[in-house]
Structure formats: structure tokens, C-alpha cells
Amino acid sequence: MQVEDEKEKQPESVVEEAETTSAPTPAPIAVEKHSRLEYSDLEYLKLSKWQRFLYHIARFFLGIPAWFKNAGIAIWHFLKKCGLGVWHEIKDIGLTFVHGDWKTKISYGVMGFGSLARGQILRGILFLSFEVIFIVYMVFWGGYWLSMLPSLGKLGPAEEYNEELDTYITVYHDNSFKILLYGILTLFFIVAFIYTWRLNIKQNKISEEILATGKKLKSGKQDLRSLVDDEFHKTLLALPVTGILVFTVMPILFMILVAFTNYSGATNNGYTNNLFSWVGWNNFNTLLNWKSGNTAYSAAFGEILGWTLMWAFFATFSNYFLGMLVAIMINKKGIHFKKVWRTILVLTIAIPQFISLLYVSRMFADNGIIIARLQQWHWVGDNFSFFGDKANPWVSRLMVILINIWIGIPYLMLIATGILMNIPEDLYESARIDGANVWQQYTKITLPYMLFVTGPYLLTSFIGNMNNFNVIYLLTGGGPTNGAVSAASGSVGYTDLLITWLYKITMGANSEYYMASVIGILVFVVSAVLSMIVYNFMPSNKHEEDYQ
């Protein structure tokens, strides 16, 4: 099938050259005419492939200021909307108070009073009990946590005399970790309370309006029934959203706040001195070396960020194209045992990664099978190593990418198989009749279709690879050690990604959790910015109807 490529390429390149020689003439005119880099459709079609490519690149970079402008406008609109929203709410609360009857007015202080007085017992009890719980919590616990939040605690553990035991024992006073944690929870609770209070007022207003028209209010039974009908989404979402709030949102908030403290995060049973404090942007300064004289972190960060991006790029695209190639080969007409080939590859998905990766890492280890064989055949020297400290870093990096291909191809093969089957066969048929060779069919039909359909997938897998902890940690553990930047909190390896570095920093002998938090935030920033850029580039964004 490749036979045709070689031959067909030649005439094509001739045509291309012809195009390039003739095309430049309209280009400068177009630029002058519009005084901006913008071609009409006709002018665009006259361009050669390379000019089109350059044109897109130029458009992309020229478009950057506009993005910032648009982003600024979007943020402004968002803020305006928020401000207006809050203003409307406040106005509505005030107006409801002024126009409402006495039941409504009492509800401002005693939540649910209006509902109770109007016969909606269930709602009233729920509102009231929520208020009682909130007040009790705030008085006994919440107030303390909240008041300690600005200082994160003052008194550390101390040896104090205990009269009952008649001896000195350690008394634990303030615990910054708990203060921060429960402080956040208390803030959550306060927000929830304000929301419920607002809901309670809205309820009163709506009830008054309904009663004014002479209709009846919903009974408790009807309320319950609506939970499986019109309000069914609330029932279904209650559990998942609570889980996400408590186990994802809260920890992330905590993590963001920790980046502004000096919490080192001892890994074992508490730390000797239970206190840490706010330090502002210091940690960011340390990592990015804006002010501080300590370059160890910034050097490590630059090095690792570079490799992380490189790794994510190669890991994503090598898997993508090779997986697609394998899928095309297996699906080719005339190839038998399609199921067998697929099953063999899929086997790698079934076997847990920690087994296959750990085993493969031992195969490539210094005393593993592979190196033993290679040395036996005298292909490599006695000192050769893939991931050990004496290894050439680029060999290690290349090997990681190659082994990742071994892991990733089966997934891509499955995905590509499913998508390739959806491409209408008559597209290829007509392409063949028009004389397109295999390569042309691939670049003009298969590839655009694949890219169009899997654009979002590529983006997510790129970000997934940036955070691909398992492969790196189980395979190399970050090795070989990078002597140049190892000064920063334990050793840093050449194959360390930001995410494994972060893990080392939190788990190491002298863990520095505040630095890990800063790195985590930066990883988020990088992912978010990349997503924004790629999302703007994505074909599925621009030509939605092309393949429908």
C-alpha cells in the first residue's frame, strides 16, 4: 500500500512548487489592501499549502491580543452580572420585607416561621431546624474556628502541670491544620446558611403571591412527591454533589490556601509544633525566583516543566498516530484473525498497571533481563543503564516514551477502530476513483475525520499525560537523578514530571507541602491555559457541520 506513496508524492511536490512560485504575487497585495492579515475566501484558496499554514500561524499570533481583550470583556461582563445579581437580590430582600405581611417579617429572624404559620409544616420545620443547628454550631465551634482563621493559632503544645495526675503532661492547644480545615468548613456552612435564609424569604414572597390569587399552597406530601418528579434532579444530585463538595472542592480550597502558608505537612502522626502561619506570596516567589536568592527551586521547576510538556506532547501524539496506524492495519481488508490481534493488545488494558509497569521496570532495571541480554550480545557496555543514576538522561526519557507507547497503543487502537468504522466507505471509494493513493486517502479523509472527532479527547489525554503519575513513578521513580537541580527538597530526576516531583516533595523526609501546593496551582494554570488555546484551535469548534 505504501508503494503508491513514493511515486505519487513526486508529481504532487511539483505542483506544490508551481503553486509556491505563482502564489506570492497576490499575497502582499492582500495584506496591503486590508492592512490586516486577512484573506477573502478566494485569495485564501489561491495560497499554497505552506502559505496557508503560515497564514494560520500568523493569524493565531495576531489573534492573541484580541483574546486578551475578549477575555477582559468577558470577565468584566461576568463581574457586572454578578454585581447586578447581588444588587437585585438585596433589593428583592428589602422589598419583600417592606411589602410582606407580619408572618413574612418574622421569618427574617425566625426562619420557616412564615411556612409554619401558613400550614406548610414540613418546610417550616426544615428551615427552623437548619437555623437552630447553624446557631448552635456557630456558638460552640464555628465561632472559635472562624476567629482563629486570620492567625491560624497562637499557642503551640506545651508541658503543663496536671493536678489530677500530679505530673507534667503535654497539652495541645491550637492546631493550625484543624483551624484551616474547620475554618473552611465553617465558611462553607455560612454560605449555605445565607443561601437557605434567602430561600426562606423567597418562599414567603411566593407563598404570599399564591395565597393572594386564592390558590392553595403545596402540602408536605406534595413537596415530597415533587422530589421524584419535577424536582427529581435535586434528589439525584444531592449525594454526588455533596461528595464532590466535601472530598474535592474543600480539599482543593485547602490546598490553594496552604500555598500561602508555611505548612510543611509532616507525613506521620502530626508534627511537633502544631502551628503554621500565613506567608503571603513568598512560596510563589521562591518557586519562580522573583525575589529570593534561592535558585534551587526555580531551576528544578523550569527543568521539570520543560520535560513535562515534552513528555505530554510525545506521549500523546506517539500513541495517537501509532495507535491509529495499528487500528488501520488490523482493519485492513484481507487481514485475518482481526479479533485475535485486538484481544492480544487489549490484554494490556486488563492487567492492572501496577503489575505490568513494575514488572517492565524490573525488566529494564540494571540487573534485569534486557540489559543482561544486551550486554551478553555486546550491544551495550558494562555501565549501561536505562533508568539508573549512571544512565544517559535522554536514553531514559526515550525509553519512558517508548514504554508508554506499549501501554497506550491498545486504548488508541480501540478508539480509532470504533471511529474508523464510522467513516463512510463511499468516501474512500470516490477518492480511489479520482486516483487518490493510500497516503492521500489517509491525509485527506482519515486524518481530518479522526482529528475532528477526537479533538477533545486529544486535549484531555494531553492533560492526563501531564499528570501521568503511574507510568513515571512505577517505571523510573523519576530516575536518573539530576545532579544539577537536586538541591531543592530531595532528589529530582530527569524523568520526573511535575506531578511526581510534587509527590516526592510531600512524601519526602523533609516534606514541604506549601511548595507542593504552589506547584499544584501552577499545574492547574498550565492545564487551563493550554485547554483554552487548544479549544480555540479545535476543528470541532469551528466547522461543526463539516462531517454531519
Binding site: 500500500m1 505504501q2 503508491e4 506513496d5 513514493e6 511515486k7 421524584v228 427529581f232 434532579h233 439525584l236 444530585l237 454526588p240 461528595g243 464532590i244 472530598f247 474535592t248 474543600m250 482543593i252 485547602f254 490546598m255 505537612g265 501509532l322 496506524l325 484481507g334 487481514i335 490481534w341 484481544t343 492480544i344 493488545l345 490484554l347 486488563a350 492487567i351 492492572p352 503489575i355 505490568s356 513494575l358 514488572y359 524490573r362 525488566m363 532495571a365 540487573n367 534485569g368 533481563i369 543482561a372 480501540l414 478508539i415 470504533g418 486516483g435 472527532v453 477526537t454 479527547y457 499528570n467 503519575f469 513513578y473 506531578i499 510534587l502 510531600t506 499544584g520 499545574v523 492547574f524
Partner: protein, 315 residues
């Protein structure tokens, strides 16, 4: 890759035929036909060779693991593959001399419970986002998209502390791990939402017209149609904790009775000394862990493929 290497030599003899394809006069038709056929055969042979080589590369580590697990003459990594003395020693040692049975039960309990609860949560989430329309739906989806970009690893330390406060770490790590696996699982709704999106809206509407509540629509109309996605979710939710390593290691924190298989087996190879002692036992453990999940996976492969393909297409 290897294909391109072969091309130049092949192209020499066959290219003239292809190039003339459009202009070939009738008398040469037979010759052209033969050339095409021959070319296709050569192409297929190359592909077969590539596929066989690939299969060997892909299966090689697994064959090695199985062979090593039966090696009795030594326990350390060695430079050869075929054992000199065969036997079940490693398996017997694994189950009698280590904590492996405990790890296996831990993992099994965690995986089964997680799979069941997580499936319920994911289905709730995806069904709601896909088929019900309510205020804040778009916001919720965008919010979760942004949340997903924070590296989850960082939340570990705080979750560990929370679990420690609740007494769910180290030896009692099972409920703690289940809680953490399940709690945030609502974020992984994309693939099943994609599935629900494909079911025709008219099904719901017809049922609603007949007086069914939204809950009845879900249980009586949609769920019976959702077998593939339910199985897919169960399967992936089961496989996640079965092989989870990072968080399980954190929560069990060196307490052997609270480990799952991944952590326990990784411990076998944690240091050079351990590797020397436990290498073949690790292989045996790997086989014991991998065989059930592989069989399960192969049986349900169809659903997995459907889910993965659909998920990638819809993003």
C-alpha cells in the same frame, strides 16, 4: 513504522504499474491486475509480520511474569526467562508466609463496594445532566471541568488527615478508601452522559404524557435500556480500586493489614534487598491479581470497547 522502511525496495518493481493506472490501455489490463494483486499480497504479508512482532512484544512481559512465578531455584531477578526448576513454591509462600490473603480480601471488598456505589452515583449524575433540564446545569458541568484540572494528588494529604480524624486509616483503611474512591466519582460522568445523550428524547416524553413521574421514567424506561453503560461503569469502577496504588499506599501508611494488593506487592520490590528476596513471589502475586480481572475484562470486553469508543467521540 517498519512499513516505511520496506517501501523503497518494493516500490522499484511495482510503481510503474500504479502510475500508469489511469492511462493504461486495454491490452495491459491483465498485467495491471496481477500487479495490484501481488502488491496487496506483499502489503498484507508486511502487515502480518508487523502484527506478529507486535503481539510478541505485547505478550512478552506477561509470559515472563507467568514463567518467573513458577521458578523455584532462586528468588531474585535473573538474566534468563525459562525456569530451571518448576514448582508452586512461590504461590504457596505467598499465601502462607505473607499477608497476601489479607490484602486480597481487602482489595476485593473495596473493589466490589466501590463498584456498586460508584455506579449508582455516576448514573445519577450523568442521567441528571443528560436528560433533565434545570437551573445551574451548565454551571455545574463547567465547574466540574475546571475542578478536574487540579492535580488530584494534592488533595491526598488533606483527605488523609480527615480520614485519620475519622479513624479510617492504617489498619482500618478499607472504609476510608471506599469513601474517598466513591465520594468524588460523580466527576467521571462524561462517558455515561454521552450514552444517555444518544437515547431518543421521545421515550421520556411519551412516558411523561402517560403520567409517569421523572423517577418512573428513569427506573422503568431508561434503566432497562442502559445495560451496556451500567456494565461499563461497573467494570471500570471495579478495576480502578483493584489496581489503585498511590492513595491506597498513603492511607494504609505502612500498616500491612490495611494494604491492598497493589501496595503490598509494590512493597515486595521497594528496596534492592526486598527485590532479591521477593521477586518471584511478586510475579506469583501479579498472576493471582491479574488472572481474575483479566478474565472478567475479556468477558465484558464488548461493553468496555463501546464505552471507550463512545467516550472518546463525545469528548
Amino acid at each position: 513504522m517498519e512499513e516505511t522502511k520496506v517501501t523503497p525496495t518494493e516500490s522499484v518493481e511495482t510503481t510503474p504499474v500504479t502510475n500508469d493506472m489511469a492511462f493504461t490501455p486495454a491490452p495491459f489490463k491483465d498485467k495491471k491486475h496481477m500487479g495490484l494483486k501481488r502488491k496487496r499480497v506483499i502489503g498484507n504479508v508486511i502487515i502480518y509480520i508487523i502484527l506478529v512482532v507486535m503481539s510478541i512484544i505485547w505478550l512478552f512481559p506477561f509470559v515472563c511474569i507467568v514463567l518467573q512465578s513458577f521458578r523455584c531455584e532462586s528468588t531474585q531477578p535473573v538474566g534468563y526467562i525459562i525456569p530451571q526448576k518448576w514448582g508452586f513454591d512461590n504461590y504457596v509462600n505467598l499465601f502462607t508466609k505473607t499477608n497476601f490473603p489479607k490484602w486480597l480480601t481487602n482489595t476485593l471488598i473495596i473493589s466490589v463496594v466501590t463498584a456498586l456505589v460508584q455506579t449508582v452515583i455516576v448514573l445519577c449524575m450523568s442521567y441528571t445532566l443528560s436528560r433533565l433540564r434545570f437551573k445551574g446545569r451548565k454551571f455545574l458541568m463547567n465547574f466540574m471541568l475546571v475542578l478536574g484540572m487540579f492535580p488530584g494528588m494534592l488533595t491526598m494529604i488533606i483527605l488523609y488527615r480527615v480520614l485519620a480524624d475519622l479513624g479510617m486509616t492504617q489498619a482500618n483503611s478499607i472504609p476510608g478508601l471506599i469513601l474517598v474512591y466513591v465520594a468524588s466519582s460523580g466527576m467521571g460522568y462524561y462517558i455515561s452522559k454521552g450514552f444517555f445523550d444518544t437515547l431518543p428524547k421521545s421515550l421520556d416524553e411519551a412516558a411523561r404524557v402517560d403520567g409517569a413521574t421523572n423517577a418512573q421514567v428513569l427506573t422503568k424506561v431508561i434503566l432497562p435500556l442502559s445495560k451496556p453503560i451500567v456494565i461499563y461503569t461497573l467494570l471500570t469502577a471495579f478495576m480502578g480500586p483493584w489496581g489503585d496504588f498511590v492513595f491506597a499506599r498513603y492511607v494504609s501508611f505502612g500498616t500491612s493489614s490495611g494494604m491492598n494488593v497493589a501496595v503490598g506487592l509494590q512493597d515486595f520490590l521497594s528496596t534492592a534487598g526486598n527485590t532479591f528476596k521477593n521477586y518471584t513471589m511478586f510475579c506469583a502475586g501479579g498472576v493471582v491479581v491479574a488472572v481474575p480481572i483479566t478474565i472478567l475484562f475479556m468477558l465484558l470486553q464488548k461493553y468496555y470497547v463501546e464505552g471507550v469508543t463512545g467516550g472518546a467521540v463525545k469528548g
